[in-house]
Amino acid sequence: MRVFRLNPAREKEGKFRTYHVEVQEGARVLHVLHAIHAEDPTLSYRYCCGTGQCGSCAVRVDGEPKLACMTEARDGMTVEPLNLPVRKDLVVEMEPALAQIAPLLPKGQAECPAQEQIAAIKPLRDCIECLACVSVCPAMEVAEFTGPTAMRQGMRLALDPRDSGGRIPEAIRAGLFTCTTCQACWKVCPKDIQIPGKAIEKLRALANREGLTLPRHLEIVQLVKETGRTVPRTETSFLEQVDEVIEPAGPVKATVGFFVGCMYNLRLPKTALDAIEVLKRNGVRVIIPHEQVCCGSPLIRTGQLEYLPTLQGKNIECFTSRGIDTVMTMCAGCGSTLKNDYRTPFTVKDVNEILTEIGIEPPARLPLTVTYHDPCHLLRGQGIRDQPRALIRRVADLKEMAVVKCCGAGGGTRSGAPDVSRALALKRDEEIEKTGADCVISSCPFCEFHIGTFSETPVKNVTTLLLEGYRKKDEGKA
């Protein structure tokens, strides 16, 4: 096992040391650390309960935050501290982050909450304050934000009738609107606490009820009520340029309904048209109901839920009325929303999934080295990580970035917390630059648009890259 060693009293930089120890079958990472410590007593690490209940032993195992006592040990693992200030070796400073978790201020009466209130609070109470979430939160790196578990606590308090209250203004002051809803916190939580959906978005919904929604966010709802879209029309939209049914070039391998989303429809219509070309080429018949509207995600992420059912109803109806059983999205945010925030009678699939399933015609290779930025709502929202990479590799050489992180476009931060949004994009650009890639590929209009605003490296969608490969192939034949 490779273990990170650093004694700040003596060294500026840490380094990895490889240890070889023997442990019993079924041993956890913690037991390997114990075995190492028995031979090298200078190794510092935290542990206590050994059963995943106290939150003392969170470390990064092969780059991912995990509880050392619950993670099975395997040969060749790398163990390093959480991405927080290091005190020594695997021990990080916890107190500053723990101090951000607000206490309950009792109103005085010992009134027992009702069953429904208890049921709502209980999942939020599972937190063992291990700080894994804090260590991966992008907004905390660039803003005054108390972070995921502090927000979780804010919601827990807001739900409790015994608390003195005032938690919503407090959460807003603590940075509630700086969160991009990237879900990194949820995915590393050993207790699987759905902080974005159950804390951040719900706190924003409570803020809405108290009249504290940000003015820029209120404008979005105004717009969607008037136009069915959360982005204003500044050029010819995608929907204005396409027919309802687009037949493929050859035999039909699959039929999908296409949910285009506001961003591709109104800001990046050319990209959507590229995708259509690729789908046509590969035997996919695409049905595009023109009465589709915004998926509603901006409303959900900013806590403005009142108009949501109207949007949901319209969107579901436009596909069911046409007997469509598979709806394709190419916007990661729309896809995640349709899969997770809707109850649809049809299946929802991302364009990367569709193309991978049907198997694409091989494109020509391009003389490019590209890098790929994982959209949060594709990687974490839909669990899609490998398909875009495999498609990219058909066309170009792929150089991975060292860090996977939110670009800063989501959660209403572009409009509501533009400094945070910008700072995260610049950080992402740093990682892009480090790869030396000619081009950065992504699969989400927010990421593409946002990174494109702040990076000098050209940004392209996966399907655009594939189309370029097809064009080169066709040129070669001509």
Binding site: Q24, C54, S56, M70, E129, D160
Partner: protein, 542 residues
């Protein structure tokens, strides 16, 4: 010459579990409080791990008298009657404190705290929060601690209590860098929890090394019933490195069934009336017997089965168990668990009055480190209640105690410093010695005991305790001190075990026969201090 005091307080609380934090929250109403914790505050000890529940007589159909009688019977009538009266009478009020502070207990449709059945009780009076009641209580208490004026020193290890003229004036602690610091306090409360880590197989967290027993004994305090170690009947067997971890009694409370390797529901032979919900000592001995007599599983356990329960019930009522076993490759909805007895709780400890005063002036104790509440065997659910009832009392008593303004003696500080320096030039790795003590205790002072084995183990443990330990650096001094506390605790268990000429509750001597049962035993507490030791006879002290 005056010692260099780094911290001063009216009340010093040692320990940040349920009892320690509750004591600090009470004491801070009267003056400055300093709480020191070996772990990150609130993460150590058994409170955050406790799964079962909190016993309190709340319902019309229940009564404090019923709770009292159940506790006395479960304790084999070795309990301190006055302490039990305090426990059962005040458990409901302390529960209300927690509710007022925002504890998220499960509730009934009529907004009352929900209660379930637990071992050895005639009425379902165990309040719970899923299967993580201890976690719930600890988070509630931590919230209040953060809102309070209590000063908290995290990740420090107490090496000694400091005395002057027979009274406690504070403590010496090793901080994170291995530096020795002196704390002066008018009163000191020990809330350090138990010592089950003296055994090879134990449910306890890393802090369960009996520090408080060792510190109190070293300061001249008297301990009672240290031989009374509760072996929880169901500890996990696999994997080896996570052996002994708690499989909560709540599993049996929800309807879990015990079977041996032959598939027999063997509790019918040991307690046909109460079966799996008999008291812990009875179930632990039953399981140990089954394994000893060759009816155990290949891994050395028996089966605990909930596969007959609806999956939804398991998911809602036993999520921690489900998650833990899944992490280790077992889906308890579909397969049985393998379990065997595991060292869990010390019923004995520092002798206290109902105000938590120990036999040494200015020293108080509450929670598992104190003795007398549970007698010879503890009922599940009484320990979490104990932390709150006696935590509050200790905080109140210490808070109200006078400010004597006494300072530590330089002589004692010099001795402590010299001892620490000696560790830096010692020879033996503490990790290997600790292992040997744990294995010896498991073999010689486990569920079934004999006089010769206890004596032999005592000799072995005392020998191991005299080894010249080596601290690789100042950062390792705390480990060595912790081993010292662990070893002292083991010695206290063994010596006390040899003082009791009978089997009683959790303490079983297979080499003794007796005509009396628990209710008619002529024996009272064993007692042990630096000045005297013995066993009380019923009707008063010898």
């Amino acid at each position: 010459m005056r010692a260099d005091v780094a911290h001063e307080a009216h009340v010093l609380v040692i320990g940040s579990g349920g009892a320690g934090v509750r004591a600090a929250l009470e004491a801070v109403r009267y003056g400055d409080v300093l709480l020191v914790s070996k772990s990150v505050a609130g993460k150590g000890g058994c409170t955050p791990m406790a799964e079962g529940g909190y016993n309190a007589a709340l319902r019309e159909a229940d009564s404090c008298v019923g709770h009292l009688e159940d506790t006395l019977k479960g304790g084999a009538y070795l309990n301190d009657l006055e302490l039990v009266q305090v426990l059962v009478n005040e458990a409901p009020d302390r529960l209300q404190d927690l509710v007022r502070w925002g504890a998220v207990f499960d509730v009934t449709e009529t907004c009352q705290v929900a209660q379930r059945s637990f071992g050895g009780q005639r009425f379902p009076r165990t309040c719970y929060a899923g299967d993580r009641t201890g976690h719930e209580m600890m988070m509630t208490l931590l919230e209040q601690l953060r809102a309070s004026d209590v000063e908290v020193l995290q990740e420090v290890t107490v090496t000694d209590l400091l005395t002057r003229e027979g009274a406690i004036v504070g403590a010496a602690v090793l901080d994170r860098t291995g530096r020795l610091e002196v704390i002066r306090a008018d009163s000191t409360i020990l809330a350090t929890g138990g010592g089950s880590r003296v055994y090879d197989v134990s449910t306890n967290s890393a802090t369960g090394t009996g520090d408080g027993y060792s510190l109190g004994y070293g300061a001249g305090a008297e301990l009672i019933d240290m031989e009374m170690v509760q072996f929880h009947p169901t500890g996990a067997v696999y994997p080896y490195d996570a052996r002994g971890r708690l499989v909560t009694e709540a599993v049996r409370g929800e309807g879990g069934i015990l079977r041996n390797a032959k598939g027999e529901r063997f509790m019918s032979r040991y307690d046909p009336e109460r079966m799996e919900l008999s008291t812990r000592d009875v179930v632990a001995r039953a399981i140990a017997r089954e394994i000893q007599e060759g009816r155990g599983t290949p891994r050395g356990g028996v089966y605990l089965d909930v596969t007959h329960l609806p999956a939804k019930q398991i998911e809602e009522r036993l999520p921690v168990m489900l998650e833990q076993f899944l992490a280790f490759g077992v889906d308890i909805r579909k397969e049985p668990m393998e379990v065997s007895p595991t060292a869990h709780h010390f019923m004995g400890g520092l002798r206290i009055t109902p105000s938590c005063q120990t036999t040494v002036r200015c020293l108080f104790a509450c929670g598992e480190v104190a003795g007398g509440v549970h007698g010879a065997n503890r009922l599940g659910g009484n320990s979490l209640a104990e932390t709150q009832v006696f935590g509050k009392r200790a905080g109140e008593a210490a808070g109200r105690a006078p400010s004597l303004g006494q300072h530590p003696e330089q002589r004692q500080l010099d001795l402590i410093e010299r001892r620490l320096e000696g560790l830096l030039s010692g020879m033996v790795n503490p990790v290997s010695v600790e292992r040997k003590v744990q294995l010896a205790m498991w073999k010689g002072a486990g569920v079934f005991r004999t006089g010769p084995e206890l004596t032999q183990t005592l000799t072995e443990v005392e020998k191991l305790g005299r080894k010249k330990l080596h601290a690789a650096s100042k950062l390792n001094l705390a480990e060595c001190m912790t081993f010292h506390h662990l070893c002292t605790t083991a010695m206290l268990v063994l010596k006390s075990a040899l003082l009791r000429p009978e089997s009683r509750g959790a303490h079983v001597r297979t080499d003794l026969t007796q005509a009396h049962d628990a209710a008619n035993s002529p024996y009272g507490h064993t007692y042990l201090s630096q000045h005297r030791s013995g066993i009380e006879m019923k009707g008063g002290k010898p």
